[in-house]
């Protein structure tokens, strides 16, 4: 036979014996399944423990409160999740949201029309997203970190500049206040907004070709080019949708507070990135689904709420969420290693 056999895929020594390897495979696939279920399990456990510690936690009023407080993070995290799927990041979402509320507030000064104000906020969000996407792709920037950091600063500054008195402006059309603040059958209306956005994005991401392309671009950017996927367009679209989600978040937040403010959405970029990562999406791109973003958002909401109920310092909340992010990213690393193990075992079994 030929002496040019090439390198074998790295087979771990001693893992080739049939019985042991099949048991090992079972353990690895169990581990992988647990990791994929992890965030949801943790959320359920967390809720149960907190429910035992503080009876007020599970009361309908409080749960509805959590949903309302989580709505903005959840909506914006849905957009962030699409960006992260393509190995990107959108740091501008918080400032984008603030600018959108300010522009909505200015439009409200001119015309007390809910559709007009909503349209203005959504367009503002989309415009910022489009700038992020096109500057990243056509400016050939090494990483979206840079452009979205720039637009974070620009949007925040612009919002402060444009806002009358450079601060919070009271007043929103009644319809918007209803969307953001009121409840239907005890469920906050903002929850229905989250549900609607999630349903539409889920449909687009899982049932449409566009969604498949997002996963392809995030999974293997080089291969996506070779397979003829319009990578640039796909990348830009994720930033546009992320901007749109920031605009929708602006409508909800402005509605809940019946105000617009250049100070809104402070550190929202961190909350949304944390939500996506905590929820179990991979920071390395290509893996994760919308449920991850939602679970992560709710988890952040639950932790904040519980620590509030327990009377824990707000600073400790930040520390706690920081720790959880580390755990979540470690879980992602562990998953990648387990997958590599599974691959090696597969090679050992078939050869």
């Amino acid at each position: 036979m030929a002496q040019v056999v090439g390198e074998q895929p790295e087979i771990a020594p001693g893992s080739t014996t049939g019985d042991r390897s099949s048991r090992g495979t079972a353990a690895v696939s169990l581990g992988l399944r647990l990791l994929s279920m992890g965030p949801l399990l943790i959320l359920v456990l967390l809720a149960a423990v907190i429910g035992l510690l503080t009876p007020n936690f599970l009361k309908p009023g409080n749960l509805s409160n959590i949903l309302a407080q989580t709505a903005v993070i959840a909506i914006v995290a849905i957009g962030q999740h699409l960006v992260i799927l393509t190995r990107g990041i959108d740091l501008s979402v918080g400032a984008n949201l603030a600018l959108a509320t300010v522009i909505g507030g200015l439009v409200f000064r001119v015309a007390d029309s809910a559709p007009l104000v909503i349209l203005a906020m959504l367009l503002s969000g989309v415009a910022v997203g489009a700038i992020n996407g096109t500057a990243y792709v056509f400016g050939r920037l090494p990483h979206p970190f840079i452009i979205t950091l720039a637009t974070l600063s620009i949007c925040r500054g612009l919002a402060l500049e444009l806002a009358i008195g450079h601060t919070t402006m009271r007043g929103m059309p009644d319809a918007i206040a209803t969307i953001g603040g009121a409840t239907t059958f005890g469920v906050p209306n903002s929850f229905f907004v989250v549900f609607g956005v999630a349903a539409i994005v889920l449909l687009m991401a899982k049932a449409m070709v566009w969604g498949r392309w997002i996963y392809a671009v995030g999974g293997e950017p080089e291969a996506a080019v070779q397979m003829g996927i319009p990578v640039k367009g796909v990348l830009i679209s994720t930033y546009v949708i992320s901007g749109l989600c920031a605009g929708i978040g602006a409508v909800v937040l402005a509605g809940r507070t019946a105000a617009s403010s250049p100070l809104y959405g402070n550190l929202l970029e961190l909350d949304t990135i944390a939500a996506v990562i905590i929820g179990g999406a991979s920071f390395l791109g290509g893996r994760g689904h919308i449920g991850h973003a939602l679970i992560g958002a709710v988890m952040i909401g639950v932790i904040r709420n519980a620590l509030n109920l327990l009377g824990v310092d707000v600073f400790f909340q930040m520390i706690a969420i920081g720790f959880i992010i580390v755990v979540a990213v470690e879980a992602d690393v562990l998953r990648n290693r387990l997958e590599a193990r599974a691959r090696v075992m597969q090679a050992a079994r078939t050869s």
Binding site: A207, M208, E220, S351
Partner: protein
């Protein structure tokens, strides 16, 4: 000129390619015929991969032309190459680890409806794609541990088989394979060689890049040798000419 072009599926004429100071292709011409395996040989840096990338739309030629079925075509992107009927199995496989075999098969040319929408906004026909992929893998006797698992969980040989099988589905004229057995063991290589033979039997023009002379002698109908960006020889590889081929590759006059 046009008379000889009529018989070949793919012809490259006087290809020139530079990357800055590096002259990667110097006036290279070759032809590939249907139902034939053409081995493209050369040492590392000889220009094989560059030539292949120029044919498959990754790079553009600085000068020279590519003819498909005797007509000059300009292939500006990998997508255009695929549309023209040229399939490439890249050395890095261009597989998506996070997608299943079926999703990999159709990535970039998904079966979707309705036709009046732009491709990106159409809805996936997942069941049809799964069915087609399963049928193709079955026909090529490729066995996978799990059909609906991401290919990240599959072995090197299985991944290679998926990449080659993907090319067989869509190839209409030319299939290019860039070192398809480089990372495989003996048994897995055998499987891939069988797949290549099958590609040829189905009437494709197959261009095979490999360093393995055994494979060349066994499978290739013709061999073109490149050295330092230049075509230095073309012959029919046999046991007898194997030594001559090696000399051409390394540049020693035998």
């Amino acid at each position: 000129m046009s008379a000889s072009a009529a018989t070949s599926v793919l012809a490259v004429r006087h290809a020139q390619k530079r990357f800055g100071a590096v002259h990667a292709l110097k006036d290279v011409s070759l032809e590939a015929y249907s139902g034939e395996v053409l081995a493209l040989l050369g040492d590392n840096g000889a220009g094989k991969s560059t030539l292949v990338k120029c044919i498959s739309g990754v790079h553009a030629l600085d000068d020279g032309e590519v003819l498909l079925d005797g007509e000059i075509v300009s292939i500006r992107s990998p997508a255009a190459a695929r549309r023209a009927g040229i399939e490439t199995v890249y050395q890095d496989l261009a597989l998506f680890d996070n997608l299943t075999p079926a999703q990999n098969f159709y990535c970039g040319r998904e079966l979707a409806f309705p036709a009046w929408l732009p491709q990106g906004l159409r809805f996936l026909k997942s069941a049809a794609m799964d069915r087609e992929t399963a049928a193709v893998l079955d026909r090529l006797k490729v066995k996978l541990p799990k059909f609906d698992a991401p290919v990240a969980l599959m072995s090197g040989g299985q991944r290679q088989a998926i990449a080659v099988a993907r090319a067989t589905v869509f190839a209409r004229k030319v299939v290019i394979l860039d070192e398809p057995t480089a990372a495989l063991g003996v048994r897995e290589s055998r499987k891939v060689l069988d797949l290549i033979a099958q590609l040829r039997a189905e009437g494709n023009a197959v261009i095979l890049i490999t360093h393995n002379m055994e494979h060349v002698v066994e499978l290739a109908d013709r061999a073109v040798v490149l050295r330092q960006g230049r075509k230095v020889g073309e012959l029919k590889p046999t046991r007898a000419s194997q030594q001559e081929l090696v000399s051409l590759i390394v540049g020693a006059e035998a």
